[in-house]
Amino acid sequence: MEQRDGNQMKAIHRWILFTCLLILSSCNQTQQVKDSQLALMKTTNPSPIVTEKNKDKSYVKEIEQDVSAFPELYDVSVVKGKKDTLVVYKVKHLHRFKMKKIEKGINKMLEKRYPDENFTISSDYKIFLETVRLDERMKNGNYTHQTAEKRFNEIVKMTKDLK
């Protein structure tokens, strides 16, 4: 009985060792890692996106800087479409208890500084990931401005479904 237990423990140890080696070897690949692959775990700071053709980005950058000034946030993404402007952010872990308060504060600030804009705000990781993906696809040339606008509208719709 004891010998059987010992053999089982050895088998368990072998499995643990095998799994660790597998995980470590998968981390050792020299492939270039896309930002979107790690967007859920690390700070990516994606550049602001404008889906419309030949439109100046400085205005969107300004919005991003204003939102980034909030001390509770650590990663901000801003996407400007034809009608809406999407602001997505990640909240620092210990401040996640005050999510609603932070959202209210950002909303108030944006409405005060940019009264003509129609803002959609979200702190959802999925929405953040989708904006990073949108940015990558636009930079790679996979998305035209039209398809980017279509995808942007889908992302905005996703945020509305959450509420």
Partner: protein, 159 residues
């Protein structure tokens, strides 16, 4: 033991109790807590990884990803109970494996396995939720109470 009970004891009983306390093996509370902490933590890390998987590869948002994650974790623990792996984990980690939602799957399947000799309807069907039934009942009831409190606070303008 309560002092009132100790007062009612005969000298012989008291002596026996002292002897029993002398020979009783002390429980390694700290070691058990550490085991439960790490195993429970690992289960939660796996759950987090599964939720990231659903967010990354499917159209689940942070708010809606809870349902498929819980379903997957419960299903995996049910399978592991069936194969006899989760029982060993339970023996090793105690509350660390029982408190997370995976413990619910374990409670359902272990009761079903225990009573399978009594037939499918009265055995498995009748006893499947013997352990997990109380979890469902108190879960639903406490959710109702919390929702009620929140609704009242919203109506009164506190939240």
């Amino acid at each position: 033991m309560a002092s009132s009970k100790q007062k009612n004891m005969t000298p012989q009983q008291r002596k026996y109790q002292q002897l029993q306390q002398k020979h009783e093996i002390k429980r390694p509370v700290l070691k058990n807590c550490l085991k439960a902490f790490f195993v429970g933590g690992i289960i939660c890390v796996i759950g987090q990884a599964i939720s990231y998987f659903y967010i990354y590869f499917f159209d689940f948002t942070e708010q809606s990803v809870g349902n498929p994650t819980v379903a997957t974790m419960v299903f995996l623990s049910m399978l592991m109970t069936g194969f006899g792996i989760y029982d060993r984990l339970g023996q090793f980690a105690g509350a660390g494996s029982a408190v997370p939602v995976t413990g619910f799957g374990n409670a359902v399947i272990s009761a079903a396995i225990e009573h399978r000799t009594e037939g499918f309807v009265l055995g498995v069907g009748g006893n499947m939720f013997k352990l997990a039934g109380s979890v469902i009942l108190f879960g639903v009831f406490s959710a109702f109470v919390v929702a009620l409190v929140k609704t009242l606070l919203v109506i009164w303008g506190v939240l």
